[in-house]
Subunit: 336 residues, 2 copies
DNA sequence: CGAAGGCATGAAAACGTTCCCGTCTAGATC
DNA sequence: GATCTAGACGGGAACGTTTTCATGCCTTCG
């Protein structure tokens, strides 16, 4: 009312309701008893003025911004999208809101963005994957609670969530072996990436468990993207056609590989069986729908959100996420 | 230094550098001249203390939060993801950060989230699509600058960005007609959605322009999702097989339709040609890669970001986005 | 009937920043 | 050499909230 063009403050509300500022605040936070009539007068004033408390002021005073920083990688990656959705779900109706900061697999940008989030005084940090070192994350956790996914990290104030990538790789390849495949190729992810290395390890483990030998010609590197999957599959076909199945390091790789096979007039799964990793939504609509290792990423994001909320003292129940599982669809077939 | 466990403030910096608070502030904002030696002392103190200005305080004092609220729909939708990435790009290195608030095509949630963003005192609002009424958006624009996509809305303090959906539909269907197709089906979006209606209008327009009659049997509704595309295609095939091409209201619809054709052992494009709408990234990796109408959504997000930045007085250049265009890939073929 | 205690309420400080104003110093002009 | 001026710098208020503390009234019990 006073300054017509700027947002109403608690003072305006107090004036209109004929009470003190303190009383208004008390009613807003509901932590102390006030007389029923003032209660009503104040709520009436609030709706009349369309008052919303200024969260900057609240944050400044109380030290809590009610903001959760989320450090994510490429937004276009369906894997990270799922995690983000999970976080969003986990934060819903808690009064906390996520601030999304995409970085692009770039460590410098990641620490820069982390600083930015701290400057905004986010109450906690959720880090989805990324390339920060354990030490850097431990450093961040000295200031605010941190949840981090896709790595195992035991340290104070840190909650880590991850899936057993080796076991996933083993599951995938074991499925192929059980279907009778013996010549199984592998399109890996980036050679330095830890998930990539572990999944490859699972591929090796499954072979060892079944007493199968490894042919190095059947191992080729990709980049976790469709482009890499396509290129890798073409290179593989260049080298040899003596394989009946391919374990792709992730679903995007599988999708690229599938297109390469189409280009070469090879049928899936009649000529080549494919298994992916992640279970991104679009794999269900591949032609044919893709067999893969499901990572419940959304549930993991949810669990991460709940973990930081609990660290902040919120009264929400903890949540664990289910483990990896094999999802059998139609890109794999049993050898006769 | 004073309170070891909480973040350093401008006061700590001033003490350490042996200058006044005002001087530190001046240096931080670089708007006034200060002696070179103090300049250096302060910057040294800042790095030594690892000081980051508290943005809540800054926001409270100056009224600017350096936050741009983004109201988006489903995060998993590739269409909105692209817009978000564009916004992110447009905001990069400007000191502004986006706060993403996904709503789920739910008007109540949208206004609720918009209130939340205002309470956080975001400096501007970008609304990607959504179901808010024009009046509701105009109301919001009375408080802060607003950019809105996917609708035409001329009002003070509002920048709207949109593509000519009717023209897009016309382009798609005209392409099919030029390829010699005469019996062209259409899987529409939700019947009440305006984009859906306009694209359908484009389908009709192209027919009229070519003096082709419309067969109502060839019109069926979807829901802009893969599920709907699949269901609609199956229903269409149930009704008649007398068509050679289908214009799908968006790419997700096309992807679902494509799977339905696979299920029925119909080949794409040999038996049925398909055109989609949007050009989502995964369409390039469909088997075969899909022909579609490209909406430069990312560029639109970028333009929207720039528009609100300019409205806030930032010195960035305006950006317009390119129009719709036909992208010819491999789901369409010329009839002999 | 008087004192004590509890409860509703208001006043005021504090959070960390920016920015207006006033002061002081140093250099310049006569 | 004295006065004027401009520029560098510091003091302090203000942004909107929460919260502690004090105050005054009413109730209750001895």
């Amino acid at each position: 009312m006073s300054t017509p063009n700027s947002a109403p403050t608690v003072i305006d509300v107090a004036k209109l309701a004929g009470v003190s500022i303190s009383t208004v605040s008390r009613i807003l936070n509901g932590n102390s008893r006030v007389a029923k009539e003032k209660q009503e007068a104040v709520t009436r004033a609030i709706t009349q003025l369309n008052f919303e408390p200024n969260l900057s002021a609240r944050s400044l005073r109380g030290g809590a911004s009610k903001l959760i920083g989320v450090l994510t990688q490429e937004l276009q990656s369906p894997y990270f999208t799922a995690g983000t959705i999970g976080i969003e779900d986990g934060l819903a109706n808690t009064g906390y809101a996520p601030v999304l900061m995409p970085t692009h697999w770039n460590v410098d940008q990641e620490i820069e963005r982390a600083r930015l989030l701290l400057a905004r005084r986010v109450d906690a940090l959720i880090i989805l994957g990324g390339n920060l070192s354990d030490e850097q994350i431990i450093e961040l956790a000295k200031k605010i609670p941190v949840a981090v996914t896709d790595r195992k990290l035991d340290a104070p104030n840190i909650h880590s969530f991850y899936f057993d990538q080796l076991e996933g790789g083993r599951l995938a390849v074991n499925h192929l072996i059980e279907l009778g495949h013996r010549r199984i190729a592998h399109i890996a992810g980036p050679p330095t990436q830890s998930d990539s290395i572990e999944r490859r390890e699972g591929y090796l483990r499954a072979h060892r468990d079944a007493n199968l030998s490894i042919d190095p010609k059947l191992l080729v590197d990709g980049n976790f993207l469709e482009t890499g999957g396509m290129r890798a599959m073409l290179e593989l076909l260049e080298r040899t056609r003596d394989f009946t199945a391919v374990f792709c390091a992730n679903d995007q790789t599988l999708i690229g590989a599938r297109l390469a096979l189409y280009r070469k007039n090879l049928r899936v799964p009649e000529d080549v069986s494919l298994v992916g990793f992640d279970d991104v939504p679009q794999l269900m609509y591949l032609t044919p729908p893709g067999t893969t290792i499901r990572q419940p990423t959304q549930e993991m994001g949810f669990a991460a959100a709940r973990a930081v909320l609990r660290a902040l003292g919120a009264d929400v129940e903890a949540k664990t996420h289910p483990p990896l599982s094999l999802v059998i669809r139609e890109t794999t077939r049993a050898l006769a």
